[in-house]
């Protein structure tokens, strides 16, 4: 026996509150979803598949192929951002802000961009008196050290709008060799560390800041100083494989199987300079251009052949 049958909607107040709650929830949910495309999340938090997210990071690698642009960004972790059928005006070191769907490709998280912004960044090292960005001196109010600035590009009046704080790495060492790699160059330090940069660099002292990758460090800012010329007796004291620069007079020259063997001498000693056939074109050297009595400056790697030290040249001038 029931009392009050067919009075389901008697509880109008609480039902009304419930409906109002649903409406408020829907509005809040829609607003939050719309907002979600604006706020950036750390790359490390992206463990989802096919969820929307916004991320921001420094472009650490760009690979263009078949009309696609594959970009990798870094904010402490790496994220692949493939732009399919699109040529994007972007360079390593720019900041890419991207919103899109997260997916997985070959076990790696990637974000398929629906909206993106490329922000140029100025990198520089400040001292007490000036900030060396490689472009201009500015912003003396910045603290000494490395800075990554999203700044006005007008020379002389660059004002810091926003400073980026990503985990950058400081690097310094002596470049032993350098070679082209994809669209940039790779320099190998004496320590074995590989640095990726543009443009090409010769052997020399390098100090810089960059972001770490599996293969080495992508340089965002660097200062390169050429090797100091030293005496032959001093140069041979370096360990084998170390880059050296010496200046001396050619005392002999001979050709064997197309290779040119030169011995140079200074006041402290002499050393052999083998110029192999396949290197002659690269160095712009011919047998006729090296005449005994001529003074030359040789930059190269200290090496050894049958117990005798020699310099494998990378530059002869």
């Amino acid at each position: 026996m029931l009392t009050g049958e067919n009075r389901y909607m008697k509880d109008t107040k609480i039902m009304g509150c419930a409906v109002a709650c649903i409406v408020v929830g829907f509005i809040a949910l829609h607003a939050t979803v719309s907002e979600s495309r604006e706020g950036c999340v750390p790359i490390s938090s992206l463990t989802l598949v096919q969820a929307y997210a916004s991320c921001e990071g420094i472009v650490s690698n760009i690979h263009r192929t078949h009309g696609h642009t594959f970009v990798q960004i870094y904010d402490g972790d790496f994220l692949d951002v493939p732009f399919f059928n699109a040529e994007i005006a972007i360079t390593v070191g720019d900041v890419l802000s991207v919103t899109g769907k997260i997916s997985e490709y070959h076990g790696r998280i990637q974000i398929i961009p629906e909206k993106y912004t490329v922000i140029p960044v100025t990198y520089g090292v400040c001292t007490d008196t000036h900030c060396d960005t490689g472009l201009s001196d500015h912003a003396p109010e910045l603290s000494p050290g490395f800075h990554a600035l999203v700044a006005d590009a007008a020379p002389g009046e660059d004002i810091c709008k926003k400073e980026l704080f990503f985990p950058f790495i400081e690097v310094s060492g002596v470049i032993t060799s350098s070679y082209p790699k994809n669209d940039s160059y790779c320099s190998v330090l004496y320590s074995g560390l590989r640095l990726y940069h543009e443009p090409s660099l010769e052997s020399g002292q390098i100090t810089g800041y960059g972001i770490p990758t599996d293969e080495g460090i992508v340089l965002l800012w660097y200062r390169w100083i050429d090797l100091e010329a030293e005496s032959i007796s001093s140069a041979v004291t370096h360990p084998l494989g170390y880059p050296v620069k010496v200046c001396g007079t050619i005392i002999s020259q001979r050709i064997s199987h197309g290779h040119i063997f030169v011995i140079i001498e200074d006041a402290t000693g002499c050393i052999s300079i083998p110029i192999f056939a396949d290197q002659q074109l690269l160095l712009g050297i011919t047998a006729e251009s090296l005449i005994p009595g001529q003074i030359v400056t040789v930059k190269g790697i200290l090496s050894q052949y049958r117990g005798t030290q020699e310099i494998i040249p990378s530059v002869i001038s």
Partner: protein, 400 residues
């Protein structure tokens, strides 16, 4: 808009699952989690689905406990007051009180969410060491409030017995952690209540579905806030379950106020579970743990889940009230003796299926202990020592 609609779809799906787990005795939110994680195509969707399920469950699971006397760990204390109201022809009011309690606690939790979240870590470190003393005070207070010396003696005996029972069953590895409470509470409060009901009541009296509440607004608000505060404490402090929270806040309340407070504890617990995950990085329930595995808990995700919870709460309120009316119509057509038999069978059958002979043994012992307070003329809240004793042992690091 598509993403919003998709999320609403997941809210509705979560609600449906919550209704399912709420209505079927013995099926806990954690039981469905492994299956749920197979369906969503992203972490956010999965989190919304699970959160919706957990929240909706806290509303609907009072229907079987209030109307059929079949409890789970979260609703165990609502059985007696709910049953009392059912037998007074106010079954629908009992369910409605739990709905208002849950909904009120939800609103309180949403309002307090961000301000309290900021204080959460400090609060946690300040209050955490005091928890065992609060529990100890509560046990002492509930025993002393029996007033006469003889009853105090009985209360000590029942508390001690329930505590030993709880320690043995919970510290031994008889059954998995997520299911052990079902036979314990099924025996202590479910089966024992039903056995007494068979003896005392022949038919279910006519039920009023007019939806009126015999509670004044001020006391209603006070009970709802008490439930909300208890739920927040349950979410923040480890080792405290919804039953403990409800026990502490409602030890001497009237049945109606009791239902209001108890129901709010679970809902506030679910909402503040999110705050604890966000601020302390800790998860206090299976659902929050699953959400933690799916998403990075940042302010945006919190806003998303809280927005979803508004939708879920609205749906849960409507569906619980409608379902309660349907169930009341069904049970009033059946003799109460049959209902108690059916309910008892559901408990025994479900415990048997889920936990086997061991579970049935635990159920039987729990039932005997659950009958003692009634036979000795004391309150059954002393049976809650089944959980309070193990917590004290945990906090005081007592080796037994």
């Amino acid at each position: 808009m598509n993403e919003s609609l998709l999320l609403i779809g997941y809210c509705v799906a979560g609600c449906l699952c919550g209704i399912l787990t709420g209505l079927i005795p013995g099926i806990h939110v954690n039981t469905l989690l492994p299956f749920l994680l197979l369906f969503p195509d992203s972490g956010i969707h999965g989190a919304v689905l699970i959160f919706s399920l957990a929240l909706c469950h806290t509303y609907v699971d009072f229907i079987p406990s209030t109307l059929l006397g079949v409890p789970d760990a979260d609703t165990v204390l609502s059985i007696l007051p709910g049953h009392r109201l059912l037998l007074a022809g106010r079954g629908y009011e009992a369910v409605k009180l739990t709905v208002i309690g849950s909904f009120g606690a939800f609103i309180c939790s949403c309002i307090a969410f961000f301000p309290l979240s900021l204080m959460l870590s400090n609060l946690y470190w300040i209050i955490s060491p005091l928890i065992p003393f609060i529990i100890l005070f509560f046990i002492g207070y509930s025993i002393v409030s029996e007033r006469t010396g003889r009853k105090i003696g009985y209360a000590i005996f029942v508390s001690f017995l329930a505590g030993i029972y709880g320690h043995i069953t919970l510290s031994g590895s008889f059954l998995p952690d997520d299911i052990i409470l079902f036979p314990i509470f099924g025996g202590l409060y479910g089966l024992s209540t039903l056995m007494l009901s068979v003896k005392t009541c022949g038919t279910i009296p006519s039920q009023r579905l007019d939806g009126t509440l015999q509670v004044n607004r001020a006391s209603l608000l006070c009970s709802v806030i008490k439930g909300g505060i208890a739920g927040i404490c349950v979410a923040v402090f480890p080792g405290i379950g919804p039953s403990h929270g409800a026990t502490v806040v409602s030890s001497r309340s009237s049945p109606r106020h009791f239902l209001l407070s108890v129901s709010g504890v679970n809902t506030a617990n679910v909402i503040f579970g999110l705050a604890v995950l966000y601020m302390l990085g800790k998860s206090r329930s299976g659902a929050i743990l699953a959400i933690q595995d799916l998403i990075h808990c940042d302010p945006h995700m919190i806003k998303l889940l809280l927005s979803s919870s508004c939708i879920v709460s609205g749906i849960a309120v409507i569906s619980t009230l409608v379902l309660a009316q349907v169930v009341i119509r069904m049970i009033t057509r059946i003799k109460y003796r049959y209902i108690t038999l059916i309910s008892s069978s559901i408990i025994i059958f479900t415990v048997g299926i889920l936990t086997g002979i061991t579970g049935l043994l635990i159920l039987g012992i729990g039932c005997i202990i659950g009958l003692l307070p009634v036979l000795l003329g004391i309150r059954r809240i002393h049976c809650m020592s089944v959980l309070l004793f193990p917590i004290l042992i945990y906090y005081f690091n007592i080796v037994v």
